[in-house]
Symmetry: C2
Subunit: 261 residues, 2 copies
């Protein structure tokens, strides 16, 4: 299938919700498999969100009894982990190029964000898992390779992966909170419609900040425009850049920090 959206240096244009549109041809009587259960779980997730993702809903999606699921999945937690794993199935991290380590890390972080954004509430699922499984460990290895090839001291390299992954997860999770909030607000009358209406939300936040007592909140008022109005992509890149600069300061040939390894 060759997705290879993994390392495109192009701006990702997020918020696009990657409609599944899989071959939903004959849901009829294909034999139930682990893979089909996971597939159905993604469908339910995108439709109802993580809070609406129940084993019963997944079973319903497949036209099957709840208990039938337990022949292919040992628990709901197991199912969530399978979803997390499948999200990064064909994820590819390039061979380290020590001259381009910063660019490679930027691409990595952006690809992870794009994958997390491709399914609703996926960041919440991701946050609850550590990637120390047979399927995910190779990705951790490739990421560490990037840091070490760049010449970072081991103590820094050992933390850097966690730091970046946490940043991406946390950022996307917060994006999801705002989206949900906007959706809930827009779809007050008809919650099934739920058009996010981002601009309106941002406007209201802006008004909220502008209404704060100027004497008590000078900084919040001064920065609120940047905090709520800036594009999420730009805000994401800024945070990422802070981290990358921090890492760069540990390179021996950099003037900023002592190598100290």
């Amino acid at each position: 299938m060759a997705a290879d959206d993994t390392t495109a240096p192009v701006p990702p244009s997020p918020w696009e919700r990657e409609r599944p549109a899989r071959d939903r041809v004959s849901t009829a009587r294909a034999p139930l498999t682990r893979e089909r259960v996971v597939e159905a779980a993604f469908t339910v997730l995108d439709r109802q969100g993580l809070d609406g993702l129940s084993m019963r809903q997944v079973a319903g999606e497949l036209g099957v009894t709840v208990s039938a699921l337990y022949a292919h999945v040992s628990s709901k937690d197991d199912l969530l982990e399978l979803m997390y794993t499948r999200l990064f199935d064909d994820f590819a991290i390039p061979e380290p190029d020590r001259e381009r380590w910063e660019e490679q890390l930027r691409d990595f972080a952006r690809s992870v964000r794009r994958r997390l954004l491709s399914h609703r509430d996926m960041a919440r699922i991701s946050m609850g898992h550590v990637p120390f499984t047979a399927e995910l460990l190779p990705h951790v290895e490739s990421l560490l390779a990037l840091f070490r090839a760049a010449g970072l001291p081991d103590r820094i390299a050992a933390e850097a992966g966690d730091l970046i992954s946490t940043y991406v997860d946390g950022f996307v999770l917060e994006e999801g909170i705002w989206q949900d909030r906007a959706a809930r607000q827009a779809g007050d009358d008809d919650p099934s419609l739920s058009r996010p209406d981002w601009r309106e939300m941002a406007g209201e936040m802006q008004d909220y900040f502008a209404a704060l007592p100027a004497a008590d909140f000078p900084h919040l008022r001064a920065l609120s425009g940047l905090m709520v109005m800036d594009s999420s992509d730009d805000r994401f890149d800024i945070g990422l850049e802070i981290i990358l600069r921090g890492l760069a300061s540990y390179l021996p040939d950099q003037g900023a920090g002592a190598p100290d390894a």
Copy 2:
């Protein structure tokens, strides 16, 4: 300048679980209040974890019917938000001192981590909330004041708070995952006992990494010691330091990065 041990004014000695030990004198017939409901919720949280925190359990803790809670709290979500708010009730961020901004930020991050660690699964609750409420907004303001006093460009200051908060939340959340895992493992037979037994867990992780094929996982094997054996406090400080150095690179008088504002 500045070796990596830039961080060590006061080790907070974490893992100490701040036993509530409140005046649990007469649970008897004190009138039910919002505050008492929140109090009971913390008790249940520490005993059962977030997954075991149900309205019925909280009611039971208070010797009251479930429905009685809804006179003081509008929903479970509301209750969680009250808990999140109460955790930072008397949280104080100092007046900005532009010469000591890095030290002040370190103290801030460590205090937040200590608060999150003071109740089980608190980071999970925190992650699901944005601090844009009447009670929490002053803290956001104080944090922004620190960045701006340091001389950071507005675009950087606007993201820095989110970045640091996300880092702390994510780090503590991950700590919690490992703790739970260790507890579940230790308390296999008697899950109520559940002695974390950190050292044993780390040893097993170490063995797991050591057993990986050396040809495929050279970096993971090389760094696993640092990743699992290092004290959490040290690991926390390293990630924090990366962020602080990144921020510092945006200061006009720093040589490392262009001001770029």
